[in-house]
Symmetry: C3
Amino acid sequence: MLGLVAFAASGALAAVWARLDLFGVVILGLTTALGGGIIRDVLLGIHPPATLRTWPYLAVAAGTALLVFIFHPQVAKLRRAVLLADALGLGVFATAGTSTALHAGAPVYTACLIGMTTGIGGGALRDLLLREIPLVLRKEIYAVAALAGAILVGAGHLARLPAGPVTAVAAAVTVGIRMLALWRKWNAPVAKGPF
Amino acid sequence: MLGLVAFAASGALAAVWARLDLFGVVILGLTTALGGGIIRDVLLGIHPPATLRTWPYLAVAAGTALLVFIFHPQVAKLRRAVLLADALGLGVFATAGTSTALHAGAPVYTACLIGMTTGIGGGALRDLLLREIPLVLRKEIYAVAALAGAILVGAGHLARLPAGPVTAVAAAVTVGIRMLALWRKWNAPVAKGPF
Amino acid sequence: MLGLVAFAASGALAAVWARLDLFGVVILGLTTALGGGIIRDVLLGIHPPATLRTWPYLAVAAGTALLVFIFHPQVAKLRRAVLLADALGLGVFATAGTSTALHAGAPVYTACLIGMTTGIGGGALRDLLLREIPLVLRKEIYAVAALAGAILVGAGHLARLPAGPVTAVAAAVTVGIRMLALWRKWNAPVAKGPF
């Protein structure tokens, strides 16, 4: 739920900065918060997507976007808190997405890819709608952190470990990698020229 | 059908202005006209999407795009007629999309969201492919009009009113809100600075 | 498989030129190589998409992207070979996509549209993620070549010809049209002004 709030806030904040109107801010908040789960369910054939069928999700995401619309200067000052919450969301979504895909019968490596997509999909949709090259493809260790958590869940599944604790540990690893990358300013390498 | 023509024309006109070639104009016309319905069917698990299985839809949308390719200066002069037809399309698609989702067994609030998406999805895809921030997120009362019609259909369903008349009234409300917004230049509020 | 390599290389090369990091290059290579098949399976209701369930596809596409990341100056010099491989990929994906859609029970014209989308979808996703107007909509005979191959497969199905040889001939026709268009610098017409 914290991840949902963080993702909704990041979408709404980006929308406010792009000068979208109130409705655009709410739609972009919803898309960022629910987009990863919608992509996951479309890939797995879960109809209609669970995130669209669970009204508390919708209410929390829309309410968050509304609050950001009003209090955006204050939210922008909480930059560190927003980044931490975003990392939490990434961890929870990537690992829960992997579990859902495993339950739906997907092979382990497919489930890991779908889990990573669940984690990074909402942010990618946000950037796409705002006409940006998705941040996740450009900067810092973001998708890698999501993939690491997803792979841990997949490995736990193969080793027949209990799903609950494994998912919790995997989510913590994702959050840890992501926060370390932010703190130490880790970046993945860029190709060397000439171009 | 009028809505289909209007959506195809709006996509094709935008493609002509972006200097796409003949085939790009036809594909963008098809995408704008059929995109909302395709997104709806993918979310609801209707395979393959009904809009791709109904050849008169394809023929009308492709024919419209072709005519716009040839007569685009004349079509551009019919600005008011195009806007009215676009509003009709928005009303028909949003309310029919909500009905389809209710028939497929979606909860009422899910059906309203999917109906709104059916109405605005084609235009959002058009803008995305042309590298624009979707107009629907930026200007005027557009998505709100679609949502209002969708909510009326959902309310009629809850009140067990007959679906036909309710859908017609709801579509008219969407068209009315949209035309009023255009005529009075209503805009949704934008967040206040500092940014 | 050659088409897969070509599509992965084209996505990875574009990502290197857009200065994405290593992970962005791999993700964009995967998206370009697998995107058309994913869109096809989402439209047909094949869950999870076959391209995500077949690990050799994933390994080859990711490995290609990795090699391009390291050797991109050399790959860029092989421009003709890359264009030929890309045309091969277009032919194989468009015709195989049409066959898959026919097997899934889609009407012939629907199958042709889905086949064309399978051929051009990966490249369109690549351009979208890199914030370009999809090349396929702007330049040269590309989608037309894919559609021609798809229509041949559909015609062969209607005439009850054996699927294997028909698909091979259709793929060759797509490759031929595409290479001729490149060689002779064919372009589809653009609408005449005034704009």
